[in-house]
């Protein structure tokens, strides 16, 4: 008996058991949330409102403008800034990172600069951005750019640098010149890793944008969250957080899809990693 109990705990659950435990855990969590936040349940709705109140807040956000814009406009404002900053960073960071991975002189010169910049959190650039650019959109784009460029560069460099040297040798013996090797072999082989870098970069950009919106914005999801916090509308605040999280997850999923589309040959795809 004892060994059977032990072996249950020591074996990974099967697919169905996994799902069941997952669902059970969700039910327990929701139940606990509901139970603890019911009237007289011990947790004040000012600390954490009950689930139905959060749902109400979501419906209210959907149906009526909040702080002068609809939810869609707030989301669009956030997306616009994050996409602009992230794409601009990619436009600079991707070629720079590839160059740094391929030409060691470029790496020797540029890598230390990034090593010096890297420990400064992107968020710490926000005050500087505000002084330089005011609390408009350009300040937010600037901060997102700063947050996104480091992972763009570092991951692209690593992706190119860690290409199997044997592939380069093989291409050389087959008569490829340096340019052909860089475009046909190195960049294509590195593609999944390059996209992974883009994904990390987008995640950083998103995280930083939310911070920037807490400090320098007149619309956007972070702006909703901060205002809801000031006006004690916790339901709205939680909904804003959830939307931020869902969009972050969505970005990640989309980027994984992109890998699958641009690099159908990738082993990582085959293994679902």
């Amino acid at each position: 008996m004892a060994t059977r109990v032990r072996s249950f705990w020591r074996t990974p659950p099967g697919k169905i058991a996994w799902l069941a435990i997952c669902l059970g855990s969700i039910v327990v969590l929701l139940g606990a949330w509901w139970y603890l936040t019911r009237p007289g349940g011990g947790i004040s709705p000012l600390f954490l409102p009950p689930p139905d109140e959060v749902l109400d807040a979501f419906v209210r956000l959907l149906s009526r403008p909040y702080l002068g814009s609809t939810l869609g406009q707030h989301i669009a404002a956030s997306l616009e800034v994050v996409m602009t900053g992230w794409l601009a960073a990619g436009l600079v960071g991707l070629p720079l990172g590839i160059a740094m991975g391929w030409w060691r002189k470029a790496r020797w010169v540029a890598f230390p600069i990034f090593q010096v910049l890297r420990p400064v959190p992107p968020l710490a650039w926000i005050p500087l951005a505000i002084v330089w650019l005011g609390i408009g959109e350009s300040a937010r784009v600037f901060v997102v750019f700063i947050a996104a460029i480091v992972p763009w560069v570092m991951n692209s460099m690593q992706a190119v640098y860690s290409i199997d040297a044997l592939l380069v040798s093989a291409a050389l013996t087959l008569g490829a010149n340096d340019r052909q090797i860089l475009t046909r072999v190195v960049c294509r082989t590195a593609l999944p890793t390059l996209v992974a870098g883009a994904r990390i970069s987008l995640g950083n950009a998103w995280t930083t944008l939310v911070a920037a919106e807490l400090l320098a914005a007149t619309s956007g999801l972070g702006y909703i969250a901060l205002n809801a916090s000031r006006t004690l509308e916790i339901g709205i605040l939680l909904v804003a957080m959830a939307i931020i999280g869902v969009l972050g997850a969505l970005f990640s999923v989309i980027m994984q899809l992109v890998t699958r589309i641009v690099a159908p040959w990738s082993r990582a795809n085959a293994e679902g990693a």
Binding site: A170, T173, L174, V185, T189
Partner: protein, 268 residues
């Protein structure tokens, strides 16, 4: 240092006085010491030697992928240029481009050389058939077994019609059965097409079975210790490797070569 009879105007590839020293953090590694080796047109030369003796280094130099510390590589009597399709290489680790299908991998050398699409398609199809790969044409390397991947690598190296084919322990990463099949395949290739091949292995059996000449290298720093000609008309040539390896002549040669290598391993 052994002088080679093949020296002279007939040598297709001539490795002359090649030494190689690597500068590493732990000091200089003397990998090759004045190696001389001449390979005639259509000859299948197998290089054997204890592991770490510099076989791969010699091949990298022959391919133009590594510069010798001293000495030179001549092809048709002229200094060989940088690495290129004149001397293609089959590596132990296949080195297929993971982002390209079998057909694209094989077409690589033709494409970078600017061969037009129709001609490319024709030659790739021909090569696929020759290597019995037609049904895998659109597969990606990671979908293939090791043996299939190595067939693709061989096809990719042959399709550009190299003057010399260099193979560095091409079957070292394969299981025993796949290896046997591919050994026979390569034997067939060299018989039918009469390629000039420099083939590296640490398997004495493979060397005797495939080679016209077996070159034994000493332990590091690698030197050419001895060359042994394998009779072209040996009785086992047309047998498969299983049967060949029980022929008395085969066993005799194998024993002789193995004895040479053994003294080198012991000497280390």
């Amino acid at each position: 240092m052994t002088t080679t009879k093949a020296h002279g105007p007939t040598a297709k590839m001539d490795i002359r006085g090649v030494s190689k020293t690597f500068d590493t953090r732990a000091g200089a590694v003397h990998a090759l010491d004045r190696c001389d080796l001449a390979i005639r047109e259509g000859e299948f030369v197998v290089v054997v030697g204890p592991s770490g003796c510099g076989k791969s280094t010699l091949m990298m130099i022959a391919a133009g992928l590594e510069a010798p510390s001293t000495g030179q590589i001549l092809v048709d009597g002229k200094p060989a240029g940088p690495a290129g399709p004149q001397r293609t290489v089959v590596f132990q680790r296949f080195a297929l481009f993971p982002s390209e299908t079998v057909a694209q991998n094989i077409a690589f050398g033709l494409r970078v050389a600017g061969v037009d699409r129709a001609e490319r398609a024709r030659r790739v199809t021909e090569q696929l058939e020759f290597m019995r790969l037609s049904q895998f044409r659109d597969a990606y390397p990671h979908e293939l077994s090791g043996g299939m991947q190595q067939r693709v690598a061989i096809a990719r190296a042959l399709v550009v019609r190299p003057e010399i084919l260099l193979m560095d322990e091409p079957f070292g990463a394969l299981d025993a059965q796949t290896r046997t099949v591919l050994q026979e395949e390569v034997a067939r290739l060299s018989r039918e097409m009469n390629y000039t091949v420099m083939f590296i292995t640490h398997s004495v059996e493979e060397a005797v079975y495939l080679g016209d000449r077996v070159v034994v290298m000493s332990s590091r720093p690698g030197r050419i210790k001895k060359e042994i000609a394998i009779p072209r008309d040996a009785g086992w040539r047309r047998l498969d490797i299983e049967e060949a390896s029980s022929e008395p002549g085969f066993i005799e040669l194998k024993r002789e070569i193995w004895a040479l290598i053994r003294t080198e391993i012991v000497r280390q």
